[in-house]
Amino acid sequence: MGSRAELGCGWSVMLSAAAALPGRVWSAVIRPEAAFDATALDQALMALGETPTRHEGVIFTTPDIAENGAVVPIRVEVDQTVLPNVSKVSVLVEMNPNPLAAVFDIAPGTEVYIETRVKGGSNRQSLCGR
């Protein structure tokens, strides 16, 4: 990954919604289809209802150079002393055909710490957490 942007996007009241549904595998959170279908970064962010702002406390780790664009390891951590109450992390890869790769809903008591691997069509990544 040649360059990357880190954007935290404000944070909201998702925590209470998640806590209200104990024992459910799937909460009532609806898949943001329009955001997944979006073909441009700003379109995807708009569909997610996010206005990007840069925040301290978001730690985004990815290799400087990915050996294989089909398997790019990423790690998202949020320093909760700097940016508390993050309940959602969305991963967007700017140059992909559909930039939105994943949306993680994080329950209270779960660290904001996500490791996964994504496909990266080109060398730009961005990230949005709230």
Partner: protein, 103 residues
């Protein structure tokens, strides 16, 4: 088609670290096979990590998550011996599930 999940949950101080490896092609629907036919989209759309009956994390995924997806999360409050499950469903109605105990 129920996919198997390799899953490990390990207690590290206050936190339980879960690592899961799912077997899934994660086809985008944009690739073609050797005959030039489009390979239909086939990817995991929803994933959840459960500690007992509590969901600690759930995610919506798109086709941009890599084939044979890896997922790592950390949560608080786990005790050795507790059950941890990872479940997924895909866009073709397939499901997968893996369970382990925290050690």
């Amino acid at each position: 088609m129920a996919g198997r999940i390799k899953i490990r949950a390990q207690k590290k101080g206050e936190l339980t670290e879960v690592k899961a490896l799912m077997r899934h092609p994660m086809e985008t629907g944009m690739r073609k096979d050797q005959a030039g036919e489009s390979i239909p989209a086939h990817f995991i759309t929803e994933v959840a990590v459960l500690h007992g009956d509590q969901t600690v994390m759930q995610a919506h995924w798109g086709a941009a998550v890599s084939a044979n997806p890896f997922l790592g999360v950390r949560f608080q409050g786990g005790q050795a011996g507790d059950a941890v499950r990872v479940v997924w469903t895909d866009n073709q109605g397939g499901t997968g599930e893996g369970e382990t105990t925290i050690r």
